[in-house]
Amino acid sequence: MRKPRPLYVYAALSAALFLGLIGLPLVIESRYLLHIVIMTGMYTALALSYDLAVGHVGLVSLAHPSFFGVGAYLAAILSTRFGTPFLVNFVLGGIVAAGVAFLLSFPFLRLEAGSFAIGTLGLALIVKLVAINEVWLTRGWDCIIGVPRPRLALGPLLDWQVSSLTDYYYLMLGILLVVVALCSRLTTSRLGRTLISIREDETLAKASGVDPRKYKTLAFTVGALVAGSVGAFYVQYASLICPSEVSEYMTTALLIILFLGGVGRMRGVILGGVIFTFVPELLRIAPTWRMVIYGLLLLVGIVFAPDGLDGILTKWLRRLPFAGTGATSHENQQG
């Protein structure tokens, strides 16, 4: 065993990161770039919640965008028709998405892994079709437009009308920090180890007195809760929602973030979220071929980094002079 990395290194790194994140909008001039940063935060939060099911209990669901969509549409409908405040939409969006996930987990968790993936894909399709066809509720392809900007009013102390991009940035940052805290609380505790034991060997976990279905339901439901709330944020940021935004392309994007970032490892997922939202935008220097180049980069990436970027980063960090064992605790792989 090598010596653990000293605490002050962590403290210094975290403080620098935190200050950097707080100060970021002061440095960024371009509105477009700030928009991309906000989207990065959103995708990272979604990927972290997705990783609860995929990376920790090994449930590859393809329905994550549907929970995002349920939250987004609920918030859009409530705020445009009844004028409900942001916090209500945010909480309700999460709870309703979680409720849907909880109810559906009963039939779906009976299926084995491959069928579960395709079953949830069917769910994703149905949610999208409801968004397209139930025009009385969702306005179909006309999209719900003019969703009001969020206003956080909590008594006389806090009354914050979110209006500029910088405001949205801080709101997103706050949400992201809550999601990071929630996910790390869930995954680094005793509960997190239970979840990973199910991913590694379900039979063995059962034999040790763990009820896999209970924990799978938990991971799936909490993931949907976060996705629904993030959806509510998104719709009050973009101010409109269309059926095309609840698409299978978001599933693809999330799968890439997870598996090329580092599935089941928080640092890897955050890294993946940042890199794979930014790379397609950076490639705008070659606008026509950018998605083709992106696909080729992914192909090269997965061949040379089958464990994701986090695997490479771990190797590099070990070579640093003050390197300890801090990064190696989650090295058990998915089989």
Binding site: P107, E112, L121, L129, N133, T252, I256, L299, P306
Partner: protein, 290 residues
């Protein structure tokens, strides 16, 4: 009753198309143990190859179909050599990301080359209406059904009777043992891809005249093929064909009676019902291998 028979025939054509895609997917999964997320995009490639051969180059219909099959046969082999071979020994998530990336490359480059406007490739057979025992059907659909059926018979005979086909079946049962008795595993994998994609090329040549082709049609078809494969029992070619027919018929009947809005959803709902009844799929668990 008329609607019923009409939609039944539509469903059979749709099912035949899904079956060609799903059978290839099941064959690849059985022999190479790889789930190909770019499978539907290859159907799209086949449809554009057919478009080039038939509408642009002006070849006669049967020749254009044969050209499509040959081109797609080699495209499948190429795909195996360039994309699958470097990753085949890695874990399943590597397979998933690599084939997803291939799918992104395919549909985006085709969008650049051909644009997003859907293309039609109408043949004269589409206008020829056959009457049979009181109901009507266009000749193109008859061709789709007959040729697809023939191709499945050929595939069945190939897998049952020829030495290469038997080697493929053996590989789907036990890869390591095949290597021990001297079967060239890599060559078999390339051949499997070539045959699966060639079969799909045939299907795209047959079905493309009945539909609009566009670069982003692939992902939907990949997912439909998954649904059929899972419904039939993972890695079972016959099961996948049965699953695809069920899917096609359900979608067509749903479209006929309930309107087209929810036909895709009802197809998937059917699949979920089948899986709740038999989680291992219709034909799963009875035998090992394809």
């Amino acid at each position: 009753m008329d609607i019923f028979i009409e939609q039944l025939l539509n469903g059979l054509t749709l099912g035949a198309m899904y079956a060609s895609i799903a059978a290839g997917q099941a064959l690849i999964f059985g022999v190479a143990r790889l789930i190909n997320f770019a499978h539907g995009d290859m159907f799209m490639v086949g449809a554009y190859v057919f478009f080039l051969a038939f509408s642009v180059a002006g070849l006669p219909y049967p020749v254009a179909v044969i050209v499509t099959v040959v081109v797609m046969f080699f495209f499948g082999a190429f795909f195996d050599r360039v994309i699958v071979r470097p990753i085949i020994d890695k874990r399943w998530h590597v397979h998933m990301i690599a084939t997803l990336a291939a799918s992104i490359v395919l549909y985006n480059s085709f969008t650049i080359i051909f644009g997003t406007t859907p293309k039609e490739v109408p043949t004269t057979y589409r206008k020829v209406i056959l009457e049979f025992a009181g109901f009507q059907m266009c000749l193109q659909r008859v061709i789709v059904l007959a040729v697809t059926l023939l191709s499945f018979c050929a595939l069945y005979l190939f897998l049952q009777k020829t030495k290469t086909g038997k080697a493929m079946k053996a590989m789907s049962q036990n890869r390591a043992a095949c290597a021990v008795v001297g079967i060239d595993i890599r060559r078999m994998s390339t051949l499997t891809f070539a045959i699966s994609v060639g079969l799909m090329g045939l299907s795209s040549g047959l079905v493309a005249p009945l539909m609009n082709i566009h670069p982003t049609m692939g992902l939907q078809l990949t997912f439909k093929a998954f649904a059929a494969v899972i419904m039939g029992g993972l890695g079972q070619v016959n099961g996948a064909i049965a699953g695809a027919l069920i899917l096609g018929l359900t979608e067509a009947l749903a479209a006929g009676y309930l309107g087209a809005d929810y036909k895709d959803a009802i197809g998937f709902a059917m699949m979920v019902l089948v899986l709740l009844w038999r989680p291992q799929g219709l034909f799963g668990g009875r035998k090992v291998g394809i």
